[in-house]
Subunit: 205 residues, 2 copies
DNA sequence: AGGTGTGAAATCGTTCACAGCC
DNA sequence: GGCTGTGAACGATTTCACACCT
């Protein structure tokens, strides 16, 4: 099934909200409730949820637990993803430490850096290896995805080294640069300054 | 003039690329060159640039320096924005240290935190104040925008305190939570785990 | 020939409006 | 009466196709 990107983004938000509602012992929500809490139109919420079958009750709403497990199923990965993080700087460490990585769906299993000071050390429980050993380690450790937190000058060469192993299928790029990857590798970027610039642009009307 | 959001995002990328091309003494580029380097269609590049007047030469391309100064003018803010950062954790420090903040267009001028250990200290040249003093300090220091790098539980209350001063016009939210703000305040969010989840979703086709 | 600028067409995503069920 | 599910209308963005300039 083909799902639009904005829908996937909202599904992640629905899951988060529903987890909170389960905690708070809320048993039923309407599309309007969900929309109000997350800043979406009720019709948007209904359309998103309807792509995956009829899950609500007309005249009533959605059962919170039932809907949550439904959304979890949609988002569930085929296996627990194994992630490598390239570039153990301040941003890299902040990400290793991030609460998101308590997820059951993925795990950071190795770090990579060029600095002799970092290679061989352990950061927040994760071992750091040399960039030069990366292709070998990526295969050995069965890593599917890398997150790139290196300076922009290093980004493309790190990508080239990582993709040379042939095991990498996805890259989450935090560096402020466009990278090119082999056919079939998916790249998403999180670019702090681009988001800030967009905000500032609209601030001047 | 009204500019679509995806266009603004690409304009920021064009500026980055053009800055590099100036460094490399490239004097002319075509829309196809730009598109190939950034992963856009040539027609997309031409359309984006044409919104702001005829700047290229038919049969030739765009003069790099001329185009850069044109794009800089489009993105230029009316004044240097003054930014406050709320939450001096690992992620907050990574952002303070980020190369993006060498920009002439904006500057982090103050930090805010609840921790007694951090209040009164200076981090990478930026003074840290108490959350309780935030409304006063935001006015005093003429801060327009805040960046939120607090745990999700604290996000909404920090927003409420910050917007109570009435001087905040924009918020860049790094916390994994939806926040509500008074009419007229613009919010952009950078959510690491949402981007990762989207990537992983498309990895399982 | 080569490359821009741009209306028109195509695509993608959101919102409406209402039939259908609880 | 209230709320879901969904085709149809709408709106936004991308891509095409070609006239026009150098």
């Amino acid at each position: 099934m083909k799902v639009a990107e904005p829908t996937v983004e909202r599904l992640v938000q629905y899951r988060r909200l529903l987890e909170r509602l389960v905690q708070e012992d809320v048993s039923v929500v309407s599309s309007r409730d969900i929309g109000d809490m997350l800043g979406y139109k009720a019709s948007q919420v209904r359309k998103d949820l309807s792509y995956f079958g009829e899950i609500g009750k007309r005249g009533v709403g959605y059962g919170v637990e039932r809907l949550l497990s439904h959304v979890e199923d949609i988002l569930a990965p085929p296996k627990k993803w194994r992630i490598g993080l390239v570039g153990v700087g301040r941003l890299g460490e902040a990400i290793i430490d991030h609460r998101a990585f308590l997820s059951q769906d993925y795990e950071i299993v190795a770090l990579f850096d060029v600095s002799e000071k970092k290679i061989g050390k352990v950061f927040l429980g994760k071992p750091c290896f040399s960039l030069a050993d990366m292709p070998k380690k990526l295969s050995e450790l069965d890593i599917d995805v890398i997150m790139l937190t290196v300076p922009k000058e290093a980004a493309q060469s790190c990508v080239d080294i990582a993709t040379s192993s042939g095991v990498i299928r996805g890259i989450l790029n935090f560096s402020p640069s466009s990278i090119s990857v082999p056919e079939g590798v998916i790249v998403y970027s999180v670019d702090i300054s681009v988001e800030l610039e967009k905000l500032l642009f609209y601030l001047k009307h």
